[in-house]
Symmetry: D2
Subunit: 303 residues, 4 copies
């Protein structure tokens, strides 16, 4: 069992043990009141206030195993919380945590996170095949939120080898997995190897076939490992597309101008298309493939 | 009360009296079985069969008043019927009947009507300011369905006078009513003066503020009059946008390519814009005006 | 008073003979000095000064015959003059004179004319099928130059009849003449019947096959008649496309944004396309027809 | 065997001297007939015949010095030759030679080269910021000519470092040299280190300030070195844009669809824009910088 009983590296300082205790308290919290539990109560009670912003320096949680039990506990606690509260919680628990930004509507993650933390880290995967509008939007977001936005590029050798062998549009022939692997997943792995937790914009309503069970927090078994446990937060899991867009419009969040031209889900230019009215957004991605295969590998589960 | 007891012109031939009887039977049909009622039963029972197509020559119903009682009866009968059944009924009742086609998703009306009648008449209002794509689409529909599609143009003198006085974009300054009046409603009036009934693509879900009560059939009190009673069918009133688009995709109905670029509701080029994901389609029309005013005059009620 | 003897309105019956004499004086002007000749000398000497602007009220020249001899004389005088000088001359000779504006680069005519006259009249032909960008540009020009820009629309009945018989794109099948006739030439005739002279943006380099002989001034035998003589000025006849665009860029003249997308010559949307680099601009118009037929009827000669 | 004595690979150490002698013979060729000279005569005499295609395997010329004298001689011989003849000559002289393809009108180089050699090698620089249309066009060219088209990508680390420090659009702030250096010139250097000669689409008429002296053949002192001498052919140097486009249209050469939207010179998406009619193509590149700096580094001279 992944993350089973004790996963992490071990020779730590005091704060780590304390926070380990914290975790144990946390797993007990449903049964009896505790300091942790009270803190949580206090925490969520003030959760919707916008004044409390997390400090930029937190005790480093690196190496602390987040046990399955803890995650289940978190999941239970957070499943009814708002995206903002989940983001606050995530930034409270982890100092080494980053938001994955796709250049689309998950910009709301950044907008929300900036309201609850001043340690917001964001990365995006530049596949070398994004829309011109997406590059402009990424830059706009970087400036608008004054972010140290990390843009990860693919490995030259791997891109060149793929294109030399199969040309620039092989994905239309034999599927998008190989190209996504080289242009997206490689960089993602490099990035995730440096953090303890990451935050994505996945929602349950995005993909009937592949995302219907997205939890608000989970152990990332695809990119984490016993040696490097990784937690994945999906603060928007319970939000609908409707809610995301109401938020964007209500708070004047900057958005990718492609959304004004019929695009909902946005990825690489050759693998994204606008959808018709009332067409599911996922039909705008890898439309030549089976619906059940429509994940780029960022959120795939390990077999 | 409009259309009250006897509205129409009167010195008719036999068939008119008979059909008046028919109407009366119709109003009684809920209480006791009758020949008419049985026919109706038979009719709707076969309603979903595609084999039965109405003959191209029907006894002319012109001048027969359709009383309020009849309309209420029809409304009650048809309110749970499918759009196709409503279209069949409409074409059965009226020989002088026409479909109003906007160049947008109401193309489904044409597609459905052609399945139940070979007397389908269609008109569209060329305001002189439509998108290039809409002109192309209108022509595509004309050819695809081999229609005698009537394209109505605005009066030269009125257009010239408006533009001379206020320029080409006056609607942004003082509202769209004046321009719509000249470029759309004038032509509509001319057309409706020549028919006994018309068919529109109005739906309840199109406009929260102005279309929430759209019935499947009604007396058109805006363009009809005691001297020229006019019936208006809205066969899609109960359909959602979702259903319209499922139909379009399922039956490969041709559609305006603007729908692939974020446009839902489509009117004149300067007065139409694409909407964001999950934005109501009506926000793509006359967006600089109050929601309650967003009708072009085609479906306005008389005060 | 400039040109006072030549221009004044007279007690007619007499006027034609007198002005014929005037013309003769004009044709003689190269041989001996005369009041007229001296004035001309003075005129062109100050021709390049921008300070002199013609008064808004001129004696009406209506009905004065402009003889062939006069026109030949003018042509000889003006053939080496700048477009601005030609425009000044034209506005000096005629009070009832108007500029034909196509919504394309002939905007330079307006810009130049405004520098030499405050009586600039402009009309444009709204065919009902222009690009959205062209409508916006026409409005921009109207506002930028504070013009009383007359926009002429086609006759409803003729448009409807054409479309009913042949659809919205008949020109691709049997040529553009019929559609141009209804949507452009009709309006042009109506307009030209009200003036003594008009000004066009025709250039020799626009069409190797049909415009190689464009003079700077000519008798318009296509739209004029013995009963209604009409003079046509083509002040840009000698300018190249290069010169037109240098002027537009140098003086920040507003231009149709379609020129930023590969369009050079701009007419109706379905009959205009962008051209490739170094492709002749005329290949962007009516490209499915023979080069020798590529005139819309505005500049056709009577056989 | 044509050029057999000149081209054969030798037992080296010796080879440089021998080929130097060869070159001297070449420089003498204008003064007295020689085997070399006669061969040349024969060669160019058959130069315009399209039947002769070079064999795919040539003796490798690698390491043979091409002296300045030889280049001057070649330049003199080739300066009046057609692009096709220059390409034939280039492929005859060098087995390790490649065409640099930008994704724009230099596609004519490929089309011409395929007519005279079946050893055509082509590379292009994928900066990761090309237009979607350019990627499609590169693939189209790869398939149309059945090319082993090499697509070179930038180094991940360098791209990431630049973007992390300066964002995705630093070139608008401090010039395009740094970004071009990373995304284009690095890859170019890698490629050119593997060949003896390369072929570009440079033309004299492309840039009044920087390309007015482009010769048809030259020693590449920017990317070559005494240790690795490099010859650069510019077969289109003497052609005008007009001639290039006449060739493209006449021979139905595939072209980048951006050329149908006002683009002439095409590079990276953010650094390319369409030009106005009659605007110089170079104004569509790095338009925020001085004209004299408008080279991306591919053709820069060493100071």
């Amino acid at each position: 069992m992944l993350f089973a009983p004790v996963l992490g590296r071990r020779a730590y300082g005091l704060h780590i043990m304390l926070s380990t205790v914290d975790r144990h308290l946390s797993t007990l919290s449903r049964r009896r009141p505790s300091a942790y539990n009270l803190m949580q109560t206090h925490y969520f009670a003030t959760g919707n206030g916008s004044a409390m912003v997390l400090p930029s320096k937190l005790p480093d949680r690196k190496g602390i195993m987040t046990t399955d039990a803890t995650l289940q506990d978190w999941q239970q606690q957070l499943s009814t919380q708002s995206p903002k509260d989940i983001l606050r919680f995530a930034h409270k628990q982890f100092s080494s945590i980053t938001i994955s930004f796709s250049g689309a509507e998950d910009v709301v993650l950044i907008d929300l996170a900036r309201k609850v933390s001043d340690r917001v880290q964001v990365f995006t995967l530049d596949t070398g095949r994004l829309h011109a509008e997406t590059y402009q939007f990424i830059e706009q977001v970087r400036k608008h939120y004054d972010l140290d936005l990390e843009v990860l590029a693919p490995e030259r050798e791997r891109v060149e080898a793929l294109v030399r062998e199969k040309g620039l549009f092989s994905f239309y022939e034999d599927g998008h997995k190989e190209c996504c692997g080289i242009r997206k997943v490689d960089g993602l792995k490099r990035k995730l190897a440096t953090v303890d937790a990451w935050i994505t914009g996945q929602r349950r309503d995005q993909s009937p076939s592949t995302r219907s069970d997205v939890p608000v927090v989970e152990a990332d078994t695809a990119f984490g490992s016993p040696e490097h446990p990784l937690v994945k937060f999906n603060p928007l899991a319970n939000w609908s597309s409707q809610q995301v867009w109401e938020y964007i419009r209500m708070f004047d969040v900057p958005y990718n101008p492609l959304h004004e031209r019929g695009f909902i889900s946005i990825g690489c230019e050759p693998c994204t298309r606008p959808v018709l009215p009332n067409q599911h957004e996922r039909e705008g991605r890898w439309w030549w493939e089976e619906a059940t295969l429509k994940e780029c590998g960022l959120h795939s589960s390990q077999d």
